[in-house]
């Protein structure tokens, strides 16, 4: 069975005990994203701060409904981006997107993706890639809006 390759313990742990979940104030932008295929949804808030002229992700908070993959991915994402400069977080986001598009052949860099390497197996299942990306896409959108608003 290949189930374990998709549902790694890291993923199931994040699913059962998601990090940073729940909507918090203050925030600079809020978005609502859905996966129209299954109806999974996430409301996500981003708060940025200025650190010596460079925007840094101060907080990411979210409320979501969805499958284990989408829930765990949002949790892992929040761990990875909170406290990081936006530019660096965007690089991580791009690395995760690349991993998801790798059709199971990706060689994820654990130094960059940390717990998110556990999602490598998901990339073999085209129907689940959108689940894994839901939270990430919401974060990217909210961050872009927050950056735009700060201009």
């Amino acid at each position: 069975m290949q189930l374990e390759s998709m549902y790694q313990d890291i993923i199931l742990d994040h699913y059962r005990n998601p990090h940073h979940k729940g909507l918090r104030d203050p925030f600079d932008a809020e978005v609502h994203h859905v996966n129209p295929v299954c109806g999974d949804e996430v409301t996500l808030r981003v708060s940025l701060k200025d650190a010596g002229g460079e925007p840094v992700v101060e907080d990411v908070s979210y409320d979501s409904l969805g499958c284990s993959i989408s829930q765990a991915s949002a949790s892992v994402m929040s761990d990875l981006v909170i406290g990081r400069p936006v530019a660096q977080a965007m690089t991580i986001s791009a690395a995760f997107l690349e991993l998801m598009q790798s059709k199971g052949a990706g060689k994820p860099d654990e130094d960059v993706l940390e717990d998110a390497v556990a999602f490598a197996g998901v990339s073999k299942y085209p129907a689940r890639i959108k689940c894994a990306l839901l939270g990430w896409m919401a974060w990217k959108d909210a961050t872009a809006q927050a950056m735009e608003a700060a201009k």
Partner: protein, 412 residues
């Protein structure tokens, strides 16, 4: 021996479906419980389509040569086969791309005859294909969209006061693609007709699974897809009463649907040609005719009885699993073979993934019926649907698979 009656020789039927002989993930045999999305195809359908391209491939309705004539004969022959299957006249059968296009055809061509103050009446249990086109019609025309709601068990709340002289069209499903509920279409059609409104039935989940007689149903329009009834993808049907079809202006325009074309303007053919521009999909029509012949040889009464037996089995088996909630009625009365359910503590997508690892193909999500899921208080569900080739052993495998998913996610 199973406690459930057998109506079809399923072993012989399965031998006719090449896809059912393949293995899927983990070298498991395929257990295909997603016919509500699209059915598998018997060899006779594949052969009919291939035979058309191999020997007869000519553009129907045009050309002065033999192949074109053969193409026309095959295409029009398929129309006659569909008509006989429904108890209709061939002139009342319009070929479309699918059921969705058939419904859109009616919703678009009613635009000029509906306006503010008029009402469009649908139900809360519709597939998006029989919901969004009517929302759009209301937006285009200023008419008001109204709907019958559903009861907690998924059945229609038949608030007949919704049918008034303001109602200009009633559109409802013949069988829900989620709960299997079969609303009282004939009764609603009778009341709609008394109020002067035509009725469109979405037959996508009805026509493949039950004997249908359009005269007895007395609907004005019936839409369905060939690919859900053993036929090829890409071909659907709009049945319409002759006078109702003739009252509609063209939908898609082009060649073959015209009478006279001048630079200043054109006149149009009578239905069904009016609604069939372009070179007709004769190969797909040949495939659909073969599918209908196949179903007719099995006997639609037996097809329905077989599915009722599987559905009763599935309802019994799923009821026994702690933490499983069936969406829709828990008996087979006025209920077809779509069994959607939720598993407490396991998201439908995860249920579907585990079942897929076991070789069991089901649908997960909202099945293009989001408002119905909302009305039933669930975000999404897992759905098993049955057809002529499904067995009682497969129903047991589904129940075992759900238990396995519960154990895997620690929810059992």
């Amino acid at each position: 021996m199973s406690a459930y009656p057998e109506h079809l020789d399923v072993e012989a039927i399965r031998a006719e479906f090449p896809a059912l002989a393949r293995t899927v993930r983990n070298d498991k045999p395929l257990i295909y419980l997603d016919s509500g999305a699209t059915s598998q195809k018997p060899a006779c359908v594949l052969d009919a389509e291939r035979e058309f391209y191999r020997l007869h491939n000519g553009a129907a309705h045009r050309g002065a040569h033999l192949l074109s004539e053969e193409g026309t004969e095959i295409y029009e022959g398929a129309r006659a086969t569909v008509a006989a299957f429904l108890g209709a006249d061939p002139g009342e059968v319009v070929f479309t791309k699918n059921a969705t296009e058939a419904i859109n055809l009616v919703a678009y061509t009613l635009t000029s005859s509906i306006g503010p103050g008029d009402e469009i009446l649908i139900t809360e249990m519709e597939h998006h294909a029989n919901l969004v086109p009517w929302q759009q019609l209301a937006e285009r025309t200023g008419a008001t969209l109204r709907w019958f709601t559903v009861l907690p068990d998924g059945r229609l709340d038949p608030d007949l006061s919704l049918i008034t002289e303001r109602t200009k069209i009633v559109a409802l499903t013949g069988q829900s693609n989620v709960t299997g509920v079969m609303p009282p279409v004939a009764e609603i059609a009778r009341l709609a007709h008394e109020a002067g409104a035509p009725v469109l039935a979405d037959g996508a989940q009805l026509v493949p699974h039950h004997p249908v007689d359009v005269a007895a149903m007395d609907v004005d329009f019936l839409a369905f897809s060939g690919h859900k009834m053993l036929g090829p993808l890409g071909l659907g049907v709009l049945y319409g009463k002759r006078d109702r079809l003739e009252a509609l202006p063209p939908f898609l325009a082009g060649g073959d649907m015209i009478e006279i074309v001048r630079m200043e303007g054109s006149t149009f053919q009578l239905p069904p040609a009016r609604f069939e521009p372009g070179v007709p999909p004769a190969a797909e029509a040949a495939g659909l005719a073969a599918a209908i012949d196949y179903l007719s040889a099995l006997g639609m009464e037996k097809v329905a009885a077989h599915e009722e037996s599987l559905t009763a089995h599935a309802l019994d088996a799923l009821r026994e699993i702690d933490g499983v909630r069936i969406l829709g009625p828990d008996t087979t009365k006025d209920r077809g073979g779509a069994v959607a359910f939720e598993v407490e503590g396991v998201h439908p997508h995860d249920v579907g993934q585990v079942l897929d690892e076991l070789g069991i193909a089901v649908r997960t999500g909202h099945h293009c019926a989001w408002p119905l899921h909302r009305a039933l208080g669930v975000q999404a569900s897992t759905r098993a649907t049955f057809y002529v080739y499904n067995t009682h052993d497969e129903v047991d495998a589904l129940a075992d698979g759900i238990r396995y998913a519960q154990r895997f996610f620690g929810a059992g």
